[in-house]
């Protein structure tokens, strides 16, 4: 019984990772692409992020740091969602374009107290349940470390980037940034445990009818041990 429930939960989590995240980013990207219609031609920018040993790095965000001059960021980006399910922020890493409003629905049966003291955004949503909390608008670039005051083990990162052109690597470290209008892009990669400074990852790429494949190499530290989740609904 318990195992069935566990399996179901795992499938649900898996679906969240596989479906929800790409779906959200894809929606965003589509919207961005639509807003950038003046440039008719577009190409996908793909590549891979690896560590020093050549292994793929997952959950790395590849994003455009310097877009072509004619490309304007969206005035009203679509809202994004950081869910709280089973005392876990979903997704763990949420890249958004600057100005995006992120809502923090709580789908657990218990309260959460979402906060961040990061320079890019300091905010706090005191103890709440459900979807009552007002969305938070992120209007400064940078990584916003999000935590829960009453659950030390819960953590997430909202990466606020300047353009809607970003992509997250999969398990193998591969990424694809879709429908980039032609132009010259400065592309960087961010990873939570990367020790390589962001500016050092900058690669300038010319996007025309097609785009070259990019490879980023990061010096990745072992992920920091975090307090283990405890209590009902914990699977760690």
């Amino acid at each position: 019984m318990r195992q069935t429930e566990e399996t179901r939960e795992r499938i649900w989590q898996g679906r969240c990772r596989r479906l929800l995240v790409p779906r959200v980013s894809r929606i965003v990207m589509t919207l961005v692409a639509v807003s950038a219609l003046p440039s008719a031609r577009a190409a996908d920018l793909g590549g891979r992020v690896v560590d020093a040993a050549g292994n793929g790095v997952r959950e790395a965000v590849v994003f455009v740091q310097t877009p072509p001059p004619n490309l304007m960021p969206p005035a009203h980006p679509l809202p994004a969602v950081m869910d709280q399910i089973h005392k876990t922020f979903v997704p763990h890493v949420l890249p958004i374009v600057v100005g995006t409003e992120v809502s923090f629905p709580n789908h657990d049966q218990i309260h959460h107290h979402v906060y961040s003291f990061s320079d890019a955004k300091t905010f706090e949503i005191p103890l709440y349940k459900g979807e009552t909390a007002a969305p938070v608008r992120f209007d400064r670039l940078g990584a916003v470390k999000v935590g829960c005051n009453i659950h030390d083990f819960m953590s997430a990162v909202i990466l606020v980037v300047p353009t809607p052109y970003f992509a997250m690597t999969d398990e193998s470290g591969a990424f694809t940034m879709r429908d980039l209008p032609s132009g010259t892009y400065g592309v960087v990669v961010w990873q939570e445990n990367s020790k390589t400074p962001l500016d050092d990852t900058l690669q300038t790429v010319e996007v025309g009818a097609s785009a070259p494949r990019l490879t980023f190499t990061l010096d990745v530290a072992a992920p920091r041990a975090r307090p283990a989740a405890r209590g009902p609904g914990s699977y760690e």
Binding site: H113, F117, K145, V146, G147, C148, D152, M154, S155, A225
Partner: protein
């Protein structure tokens, strides 16, 4: 040499010396054994105490570490603190640091940003913005994003520090809480364990339970902790061996216990305890042993003196007694009433003196020539020596022609001849139980029947006379070999009543007989000359003889000094072939 020296010692010394040597040896051995065992015991006990101190110290450090860590971690999780840190407002954070330090009760609370730059100091000593991340444990905590602890130096003092990250949920800063390792800590350990504790490096004394005056006063001649000692101690500290430190008269057994610390030099807990205090009563042992030894020696001297006196006094009495015996005092007796060997010796001495006295008395009474039988009879008390009437047979022997012999013989030769004759005569008398009464120059007077009486005293006298005659030829043969003239003897015997007893003044009294019979016997002997006979007996004597003797004719002759003539009989021999006399060639009595 040594043997002679020993021989010359007095008895008291001979008793006292071995006693003293024995006592001293035992004492020294005891002191040595107790000292050795005691020293080892004390060292073991102090080492044990040191271990206790070491354990207590480690336990104290662990407990403080745990408490600091727990409380600081709790504090770091406080959301209000996170909020306060997020403000990065120095004044707010300074008050927060002060307030939170009071919450956890430590000596120090630092709040730093995530890079280790100081945001607030509860003591408001270190300036905001100072990078305090250089030292442990903050550097470790920054690197590992986990709590870290270390002993470090803060503002010249030792601090037990704990650094804990403030996670939101990534580190937004660090809390560094500290508890001082100071004199109070050392004093606490001292109170718990009873040993002195100092926290030292080779060049510094951070804290100590020694009074500051002892510890730091430069005028102090022997501070318990000196640089040299620390240097020496540091060299052996790895082995955790104990070493002695002299402080004036006190010896401090010390040990260095290494403490993990983020300091340029190794940090130690120097644990010390007074060797003398731990030795306790053992310290006075040599003195006490010396006192005991002195008492024992005095005791040995007294006991030796008493023993020696108890032995020597009777011995000295014995010696004195022997000297008196030497001087001729046989009357004395020793009054020593012991049942031991000395008593036995004294009794033997008394017996000896008694024997000597009796012998002397007999000698005085009978002269030298008393046969063993007679002496035995006298000593046996069978013979009264007081005066009494008694019938005795008296024998007179004389050398015929002695005056002429004396004239033509040199005196020494004459004495030799006479003495040889007397030897034979005395032997003949004693063989028959007679007693030599006196020597008459060339003859002897012998008594038979006194002091010892026999049933056949007249016969004994005649047998003695025959024996005398029988011994003569052998003596004459020897004289002839020396070209000396042969001796001829005459013997007169008479039996009669006499008064027998001791005569003469005390010391010179002799046993003797008084009466007419000796005179008559003498006269009868003199008749031999006239009658040319050898042995003449009176008629009284002849009447008492048995048939064993061959008697000659009886004649009645007038005797000088006697009114009535006396009947005499010549003895010619006896039944035994060995005692034949026969008639002399010129005997007047020859038939």
């Amino acid at each position: 040499m040594r043997a002679r020296w020993w021989r010359r010692r007095r008895l008291r010394s001979k008793i006292f010396l071995p006693f003293s040597v024995l006592i001293l040896t035992i004492l020294l051995a005891t002191v040595w054994v107790v000292g050795t065992a005691g020293g080892a015991w004390v060292e073991r006990s102090i080492k044990g105490q040191f271990e206790v101190t070491g354990n207590a110290f480690r336990a104290l450090m662990a407990e403080r570490d745990e408490r600091l860590r727990g409380e600081t971690t709790l504090l770091a999780g406080d959301f209000a603190l996170k909020r306060a840190i997020a403000t990065y407002d120095p004044d707010t954070l300074a008050s927060v640091a002060l307030n939170y330090r009071e919450r956890i009760g430590g000596d120090l609370l630092w709040i730093t940003d995530r890079s280790g730059s100081l945001l607030a100091d509860s003591r408001e000593r270190t300036a905001v913005g100072t990078a305090v991340s250089g030292g442990a444990p903050l550097a470790v905590a920054i690197a590992t994003v986990a709590p870290a602890a270390a002993v470090a130096e803060v503002d010249g003092g030792l601090m037990q520090l704990v650094a804990v990250p403030v996670l939101a949920p990534d580190p937004i800063g660090f809390l560094v809480a500290g508890e001082a390792i100071d004199d109070a800590t050392a004093a606490q350990l001292h109170d718990t364990t009873g040993t002195t504790v100092s926290f030292v490096t080779r060049s510094r004394i951070f804290a100590s339970s020694w009074p500051p005056a002892v510890r730091t006063d430069a005028a102090q001649a022997d501070p318990p902790v000196t640089r040299e000692q620390l240097a020496r101690a540091a060299a052996v500290a790895v082995e955790q061996t104990t070493f002695l430190v002299r402080q004036g008269r006190t010896r401090l057994l010390s040990i260095l216990i290494p403490i993990d610390a983020a300091l340029p030099e190794p940090l130690y807990a120097l644990v010390q305890d007074s060797y003398e205090r731990a030795l306790g009563p053992l310290v006075d042992l040599p003195k006490r042993a010396a006192g005991l030894g002195l008492a024992a020696l005095v005791g040995a001297l007294v006991v030796g003196a008493i023993l020696a006196a108890s032995i020597a006094a009777p011995l000295q009495a014995l010696v004195a007694g022997m000297r008196r015996v030497l001087a001729g005092d046989f009357v004395q007796r020793l009054d020593i009433r012991c049942e031991d060997e000395i008593g036995y010796l004294a009794r033997s001495f008394n017996d000896m003196v008694a024997g000597l006295e009796e012998r002397e008395r007999i000698k005085e009474t009978f002269g030298r020539f008393v046969s063993h039988d007679v002496a035995a009879a006298v000593l046996g008390g069978h013979m009264p020596l007081g005066g009494e009437w008694r019938e005795v047979t008296i024998l007179f022997q004389d050398v015929r022609g002695f005056t002429a012999l004396a004239e033509r013989t040199a005196p020494p030769v004459l004495v030799g001849i006479v003495n040889r004759l007397f030897t034979e005569m005395v032997a003949a008398v004693e063989a028959q139980g007679g007693v030599i009464r006196q020597f008459t120059g060339d003859g002897v007077m012998a008594l038979f029947g006194a002091p010892v009486q026999h049933s056949d005293d007249p016969a004994r006298a005649v047998r003695a006379a025959l024996d005398m005659v029988a011994r003569l030829p052998a003596l004459n043969a020897r004289l002839a070999a020396e070209r000396l003239s042969p001796l001829r003897i005459g013997i007169g015997i008479h039996t009669g009543d006499v008064v027998a007893g001791r005569f003469g003044p005390d010391r010179r009294s002799e046993y003797g007989v008084v009466g007419d019979a000796p005179n008559l016997a003498n006269r009868i002997e003199e008749l031999n000359k006239k009658l040319h006979t050898t042995i003449l007996v009176s008629g009284v004597t002849a009447a008492r003889l048995g048939s064993e003797f061959h008697l000659g004719r009886r004649v009645v002759l007038p005797v000088k000094g006697k009114d009535k003539p006396v009947e005499v009989v010549e003895v010619l021999g006896c039944e035994s072939a060995t005692c034949q006399v026969g008639y002399a060639r010129d005997s007047a009595l020859r038939p």
